[in-house]
Symmetry: D2
Subunit: 425 residues, 4 copies
């Protein structure tokens, strides 16, 4: 699983540059934050920013530096326990729902921890002259892992801030609006297709192996479902009428008291939405976001359609550019595409919102989890979750790819998750 | 969806006979019971026997008699609310977890309700001379529905009795034992296969449409996993070591304190199991049973194998006879096959235990739920559950078929659910 | 603690007669019940009737027959575990919230258990000719214990039946009504008073020792608060306005969604109440009932008054007759007094409804719990509960007395508990 | 209730000085803290330090400045909602369990809020030259209120830090030890006594009115129960044997898994205790601390004694000096008394640990809650809690007095609560 390289390998310099970029990107996301913002865990599913910063460093320390850098000394051995997320192979873990109870190490101490790890990673990548083997592929996992946590920093902060009646602004920005074009449908023929990753670049284990699967004839929608369309669903009794819902979805919605997407509140008859740019009026032209799988599925049924399978999504996306908005665009909110589709292809399959598929997250045929701790990265979560595709406005642009499989529980709403429709031909 | 028939149709007499058989089978299951046994609900997932007897009658009354028998008068209109299980189309439902709170109508009154319904069903099937249309296909659904509840009567009673330290005996019987043959593997080639139901007989909507799917090369185990094999897993730390488990599974097992299959207790160093024949020593040669999906999946990983997909299972089972033990055999417990396999085919794919597959319960491509109340029968549960195949020792023999898809949540253990292994070729 | 007696003692015949009376009274309460009604436990605080019948028998078997009747053989030793309520001294107990899970022993078997115990109690009381000592005082506890369970049979059945939309009628009866007289106040001077039990008759340990306490000048209301008065409180926003409530009470009411006394439902603008005579219109002249301590306390504050202390209640009640309605009157519901008070004393201090006092249930000064199992009867519950006085329409008349201290948690509503006001002079 | 004063009143200067002292004491407690430490809420019963700092300022702003300082402008009107603890009279409150979700206003902003309030309080107390009335008694309540929150800052921080495996040190200090003298008993005669507050100084409403009560003859222990004595109880099966416990206490201990006082952990056979000076070995000579009422009551029963009533405690303490350790002593942990008792009076009734009494927290006879918001200060909590007396090592010395009634639920352990025994004479 692990490819290695000696110093002579010219790719190490590029990897070092990439390492610095990715690590700095995490820290840049924290620039608008107060120390207080780094500390709090708003729900068990979310983690404090401070924890994300420390855990991603722990990942490099544990997976790379300890095995590969001779003489490496940890800054504090107790961090092994504090910042291990879920790797049973690597020992016990501080309980996840308690992550917000730790006020020490402080943010400054966590930054020192990051520097300590970064210095030694640079030593490993740039200055080792004893021919030590560098576990390149593990470092690549570490960088993509850090990018995943960058997205979580954004989504977890949004959840935290949303609980504050002061509606904190993370980054002030105006959102574009658009005239929404009519929905069109792109038809795909039935046939045996190949999906999944193969080749030289990076991909997670769960995108492998590339394999054949049979797809029936289907149609995919030209654009994302908008807030305006979702409001129509709501006004038609969407949240009150069980006939469009999965039974588990309707129960969840009823017990949780859902009557709108997450972060929406009604004020003087107007739907408002909390965004990282503050509380805003809902823009009917924007992609709908912060809906669970259950809501996406119910909306689709109401609309006389369904959600796509991941094979359908991947087959349709194969020739499309990753042209949506990502975290680097600085909106931290899904907005309309820069240019409307030319009319010969669906728009915005990548970026802005993760698109719920109707595919439960399971192993691809022939999947084998890697040996060791990295085998716990994805495989053990293949139960009870649904696949989402395409990345969001909180995803680093270089993190996404055609075969990328994100997965969340069907009731999760705090990710930037939206709706792309499909239907039988 | 609904085919109709006039009196002249000779199939009505056969249907009437089948109706009587199925309805009497429910009542025969209650013969060993005291009145007290009929009343109690042991957990929200289970229902009192009395409720099963009433609800199945309500089904015929509501789906058949009210729409199809002119002048039909309900015995008590309040039963509409009390005995509707989950059909929102048909009005509000008495809360499921409260079903055990109803001591009235009494068992005797419920039996009168059954007779009332039966009398009018007979009138509809045998004596109507006004050419009224008989909704044959709905009646067929009702009969299969009743058979499903017959299985639930058995499993729910077992759960209830298991909570009683007196270990009530439902039916005293001795179980056969066997010398367990070595596990062999039957290989199947890769290819495009067809699964799902097509044709004239009865099938549920979720078995349709018959459709193509691509199956990789795989091997299926010759027999079920035994109690003896499962004890080896347990003795190897099976319930304590997370490396073989899905994360959700290990959490469930830890929180629930599982350390053995359901109904097992250790007494003086010997594993005992509560059966409907009373408390018995665990027989190492018997198929393992009352394990959740999580346990089945963990066992499979420990054994270096995996669970089959439902396409793999159905493809392998296509030529095999339904030769296992069903409810009519009177064991109410999975036992070894009558005859060991001749060696050229896997044994016991049908009967004794439902076999967990690794397939989440989702709609087949092109699936469309029927209009009206029957559209709620299966479709709205297509979330968060796993498919099981083949029927069990509590299933009526005439209820099962090759394409039958049963489904339960991955933590469910009170059904007669066991383990068939598969592996990549 | 335990006085004994030999056969020669003429009081044994009287005790035997009393034993038969009390035991038969339990069984008479069950006459209107179906077998189904005996089995179900409607909430953890309540118990199935079958359990009450068995547990009271277990009490005599365990406390009297096993120690005092030579050669006594238990009907089934497993009942020791099944029917022990909470006596740790006597071994482990079947979990209280699971009492409704036991469908065996059946009602008939429990009746046989009662007969077995009764036969041997009679042998002990009437026929022992070997001079064996009879533990008279323990038997007396057992009889009063059984009377307590008679009251619980009534209140637990009412709770169970109230959950049934069919509104079962336990005993059909018409309730008297009245013209409600104006509230008057009886003043008592300050002074050192004595409360608690002393003397020869029966009393529980928690009524002892008789002791001095200082009472300030106070006034006690001439009659119980009525449904009509309580409706005024409700219509003044009683359940929505926190200013009259204890903080814990308002939280409890909000979380539980209380907006009326227990068993009240509004139908077409009319308050209805479920009674053991079926669903009835609320009669404004009836004593208010099925209110928690929190509601009683909030009502009193709204009315510019307070609840009495138990010393105030007992001091006021000392000369009053126990003239209210008890279980023998057959109403199973609080009704107006037979005769209005003559005007020189408060009416209805005894019977109809238990009267909440503002006294937490604690040990009297100098209290010592008895040695052994009977020491667990009352003492270990002296925490978190409030004292109620005077008995109710579900209390056997011979069970109540001036010094009797009943106790329930402040949120309990399923007992026949009502409101007597007091105020500072 | 509110006495007023004009500027001419010479007592205002003293009050201003007292105000500055109390306010600064709060801030001094925060000096050892990082910003991170201010933010987190470790359980619903506790609050973040930042919240305590803000809420106490809100109290002066709302109760004093807004009604009494003409032209006062709030720093941020939204704080009315954020920092109202539980005063329904003053509007809705941000939910208590969510206090730790607020990362804004920041610590610095909260300090600015404090300064804003302090400046205007000084203006009111020192510089108003328009004869405006100063609500002296409300300011006194505000100062005592702030002292209560100083104690909570200490106890809430201790709870928070205790969850951190790094065992943060709040203030490093060595604790004194002692040779424990034998327990002696001081006897008090029966008689009518007066308890409660009367006179000119400050006292809370719940200490009033002074009133007569009758006390039986009793004995009070000469000293507090020590850790060494409590370990004997533990080693005698204290936490496993129900016979010494209230039923609710044993259930609480079992469900919570208590097997030692709070903050104790066993390491290599040695009991350690987390203190604000870090993790220390338990010193057998120290007063036992962080025990609930349930544990105190069980210990007392095991020791053949009982807890005192509050009347007994107050009667015994009337002549004793407040000679124990308070927050100013800087231990933040209960330690032995400076000088052993001379032998003619019980030692350490004040300071070090709050002493559980057996008295439920109820209104004194004749108690009337004040009108308005201050009426919610104490009265609405008179249910379900127990009285503690004497102050602790976290109490400001000037905050405590003979008649002071503290109150907590019987399962609370995070306060510095310990055990003083009493017994019947």
């Amino acid at each position: 699983m692990t490819s290695s390289a000696t110093l002579a390998d010219p790719s190490l310099a590029a990897l070092a540059a990439q390492y610095r970029d990715v690590r700095q990107a995490s820290e840049r996301l924290c620039e608008p934050l107060t120390i207080e913002d780094h500390v709090v865990q708003s729900m068990p599913d979310a983690s404090p920013t401070r924890w994300h910063l420390a855990h991603t460093s722990w990942f490099f320390e544990t997976m790379v530096l300890k095995p590969a850098l001779p003489g490496y000394v940890s800054l504090d051995e107790r961090f092994d326990y504090l910042f291990n997320s879920y790797y049973n192979t690597l020992g016990k873990q501080f309980p996840r729902p308690q992550r917000g109870m730790l006020t020490r190490p402080t943010v400054e101490e966590v930054r020192a921890y990051r520097s300590h790890v970064d210095d030694h990673m640079m030593e490993l990548l740039e200055h080792s002259n004893d021919g030590s083997a560098v576990p390149i592929s593990v470092i690549e996992v570490g960088l993509h892992h850090e990018q995943q946590h960058q997205e979580l920093i954004v989504t977890d902060l949004k959840h935290l801030f949303s609980l504050n009646p002061l509606h904190p602004v993370y980054r002030g920005v105006d959102f574009p609006t658009r005239t929404v074009p009519a929905m069109r449908w792109y038809e795909h023929p039935e046939g045996l297709v190949e999906i999944g990753f193969e080749g030289d670049g990076f991909a997670y284990d769960n995108e492998r192996p590339r394999h054949r699967t049979f797809v029936q004839r289907y149609q995919l929608a030209s654009r994302l479902v908008t807030c305006g369309e979702f409001i129509e669903f709501m006004e038609d009794g969407g949240y009150r009428r069980p006939e469009w819902w999965l039974s588990a979805g309707f129960n969840t919605a009823s017990e949780a008291g859902w009557n709108a997407p997450d972060y929406w509140i009604k004020r003087d008859g107007q739907w408002m939405v909390y965004t990282l740019a503050g509380l805003k009026e809902v823009d009917a032209s924007h992609p709908i976001c912060h809906v669970s799988y259950y809501e996406a599925d119910a909306y689709a049924r109401w609309a006389g359609a369904r959600l796509p399978t991941e094979a359908e999504w991947e087959t349709a996306a194969i020739t499309l550019p990753a042209a949506g908005h990502f975290v680097e665009d600085g909106y931290f909110h899904p907005v309309p595409p820069v240019r409307a589709s030319s009319g010969d292809e669906p728009e915005q399959l990548f970026g802005d919102v993760w698109e719920w598929t109707q595919s439960p997250y399971t192993a691809y045929p022939g999947f084998r989890a890697p040996e060791g701790a990295l085998g716990e990265y994805n495989a053990k979560f293949m139960s009870g979750q649904m696949v989402l595709r395409g990345g969001s406005c909180a995803t680093p642009r270089s993190h996404i790819r055609l075969t990328y499989r994100n997965f969340f529980h069907p009731d999760a709403r705090w990710q930037f998750s939206g709706i792309r429709l499909a239907r039988d031909a």
